[in-house]
């Protein structure tokens, strides 16, 4: 009872939009496609849905090969970044439109539309037209249309990207609840690592048309299989440095080194790429196993409760993200404490070493 991509690839002319991909997605699961713009999220979604046909490989759904089956026959619904509704139909008729196409009896249509409208808090707007709604309400209408018809596959292509901050948070809270208890496979594309972490579920990280890792979100985040995955799944960007491990020490340069700690002891001596997430570097020494580094402050971003400090470490720009307000002067030298136990080490092939 799954959706399966078997060696699916998409090439357009000489360009490869999606490299050979194998994915098995369980029914009733919430799955996130995480990647930057143009990483192939939309193409991958469209391949899953049958909006585009793969150049090679097969798509299987519930044990049937559906590669050649067009999207209209697959019971799919989709929500886009733009708020797409029928401009001259009321909200009610917009939500009802997939049911009308499926020729459901009127009573059934009414009960389903009302249920969806209630879930998305659209009941007072049912008789209005899309242009009389706020952006958030327009997108709610589009989402209601997507959930009203009991689709097998619901695709959400950056649905919150065009909403302003407050509405985005509001809908972000509601979305998982809408899909809970349904059998549908939900695929949610986003560029924001934070969004993926908030939703949980499974995450597939995409980079230049390749799925670099797919698995439970927390696992993908904690144990990225390779450096690219770690970089895609980090905001602010993950800090990296070339290091050498020798004599029980992690050496960045002659002056910057620290004891290997538990994480570092497990790996053999040699050259590695070290990666540390910004929130594992703090201006406050929390003790046990932290290494102090000194760096010239380049930029400080202070929000109400958080400080993001960009500093120069041995010629690379590193970022520290920490709670509290730490107003470092630009140009001054900051002392920062690295939680070295959280280090990730990648070998020459950029794979995680454990």
């Amino acid at each position: 009872m799954t959706l399966e991509l078997r060696n699916v690839a998409k090439r357009v002319g000489a360009q490869t939009h999606i490299h050979e991909t194998n994915l098995v997605i369980a029914e009733g699961s919430f799955n996130i496609l995480l990647g930057t713009t143009l990483s192939g999220k939309t193409t991958l979604m469209q391949l899953m849905a049958g909006i585009q046909k793969p150049s090679s490989g097969e798509v299987w759904f519930r044990g049937r090969n559906v590669t050649q089956m067009p999207v209209q026959k697959r019971n799919v619904s989709m929500v886009y970044q733009q708020f797409i509704n029928y401009a001259n139909l009321t909200v009610y008729e917009n939500i009802a439109s997939p049911l009308r196409l499926a020729k459901l009896p009127e009573a059934e249509v009414a009960s389903r539309v009302n249920k969806a409208a209630e879930l998305l808090r659209l009941v007072p707007m049912l008789q209005r037209r899309p242009h009389e709604l706020s952006g958030g309400q327009q997108q709610r209408t589009a989402i209601a249309r997507a959930i009203v018809k009991d689709s097998d596959l619901i695709l959400l292509d950056e649905p919150l990207a065009n909403l302003d901050y407050k509405l985005r948070e509001e809908l972000r809270d509601e979305l998982p609840k809408l899909f809970a208890g349904r059998n549908a496979i939900v695929i949610y594309a986003t560029t924001e690592p934070t969004e993926a972490l908030l939703f949980g579920g499974n995450t597939a990280t995409l980079h230049e048309g390749r799925v670099t890792q797919f698995g439970p979100t927390s696992q993908t985040y904690r144990r990225p299989r390779d450096l690219i995955t770690a970089q895609v799944f980090s905001d602010p960007p993950i800090n990296t440095a070339k290091v050498v491990k020798r004599d029980g020490e992690i050496v960045l340069s002659e002056r910057i080194k620290w004891p290997a700690g538990k994480a570092g002891t497990a790996i053999p001596d040699g050259e590695y790429t070290l990666a540390i997430r910004p929130h594992h570097i703090s201006p406050i020494d929390h003790g046990n196993g932290r290494a102090m580094v000194e760096g010239r402050v380049l930029v400080t971003e202070l929000s109400g409760s958080e400080s993001v400090i960009h500093f120069d470490l041995n010629g690379r720009t590193w970022v520290s993200q920490s709670h509290g307000i730490h107003p470092f002067e630009v140009g001054s030298t900051a002392r920062l404490y690295v939680d070295v136990e959280q280090s990730l080490f990648f070998n020459a092939k950029r794979e995680l070493v454990t």
Binding site: Q46, A49, I51, V71, Q72, K73, V76, S77, M78, Y80, Q81, Q82, I84, Y86, A87, N88, L89, S97, P98, L101
Partner: protein, 287 residues
């Protein structure tokens, strides 16, 4: 915010005011001037009130020309708008053919109006014109210089050839501005081509279609050059539309008073019709 008031700013408006005055208001006032007075030359005028207006509005000649004009405009709109829309829908959205189609479409619009008239004049001649010869060789007796019906057919055909492109280009611009996601959403929903047209394309084209109809209405209602060159308003008076009649009256007979009155009535008809149409089309937007 405190706004600064400086009356010298009015000087900045003066150039625009002068331009509008010279190219619109002053000529219009001249016409108004002639329409309420009688002149026997030498710049001597006598007040005549609304006499010329009464004369024009009661004249059968004006009624006939107005009726011909309305029928012509209605025919032209009925043919050009659906045809233009259909061509725009059939045109490719992507690829190398797009520019070919666009250039081909734009060509008729680039030809001077009197040239269009001259072209069709020769093209449709029964003895030496390609179109005229072709129709006659099919066994249909066709001579637009003698038959009123033939003259109408040629005039409408010429206008369709000349101006459908405008509707096509406007509709095409409207169509390509619809994001792909809309078509995709329709596809996902399983909507048929007719539903895509009815619920996605047509609503999105509402504004450009309004503009297209308005432009075609105004232009066809004022048509002059092409018809004068093609038929000269004939045979008889059968293709004498309002503008042609007006010129005959003003310059042929030198009846400046009635001609001026007719100009104003003519202008008001176009203004009123355009306003009515626009208000009706945009009524739903305001709500």
């Amino acid at each position: 915010m405190n706004k600064t008031f400086d009356n010298r700013a009015w000087w900045l408006v003066v150039p625009v005011f002068l331009m509008v005055a010279f190219n619109a208001l002053i000529p219009l006032m001249t016409v108004v001037n002639f329409s309420v007075q009688e002149s026997f030359g030498d710049n001597v005028f006598f007040w005549s009130g609304v006499r010329w207006f009464e004369q024009v509005l009661n004249s059968e000649r004006f009624h006939a020309a107005l009726l011909r004009q309305i029928i012509f405009t209605a025919l032209v709109l009925l043919i050009e708008v659906p045809l233009g829309l259909a061509i725009a829908l059939a045109m490719p959205r992507k690829g190398p053919w797009v520019s070919v189609c666009l250039v081909l479409m734009a060509l008729p619009l680039l030809i001077p109006w009197n040239v269009v008239g001259a072209m069709w004049n020769i093209f449709a001649l029964p003895d030496i014109g390609f179109l005229g010869k072709l129709i006659n060789s099919l066994g249909i007796h066709y001579n637009y210089t003698r038959q009123p019906l033939g003259a109408w057919f040629t005039t409408v055909l010429m206008d369709v050839w000349h101006w459908t492109s405008l509707v096509v280009l406007l509709c095409y611009a409207g169509l390509v501005s619809i994001p792909d996601a809309y078509y995709q959403a329709a596809k996902v929903d399983g909507a048929r081509p007719w539903a895509v047209f009815r619920y996605i394309q047509l609503p999105k084209l509402k504004h450009v279609l309004t503009i297209a109809i308005l432009l075609r209405f105004m232009d066809s209602f004022m048509i002059y050059t092409e018809v004068v060159v093609l038929t000269g308003g004939g045979p008889g008076n059968s293709t004498t539309f309002l503008s042609i009649d007006l010129v005959k009256m003003a310059l042929g007979q030198f009846d400046l008073g009635p001609a001026a009155a007719m100009s104003i009535v003519y202008f008001l008809i176009i203004l009123l019709a355009s306003w009515l149409f626009y208000t009706l089309m945009m009524r739903n937007e305001a709500r």
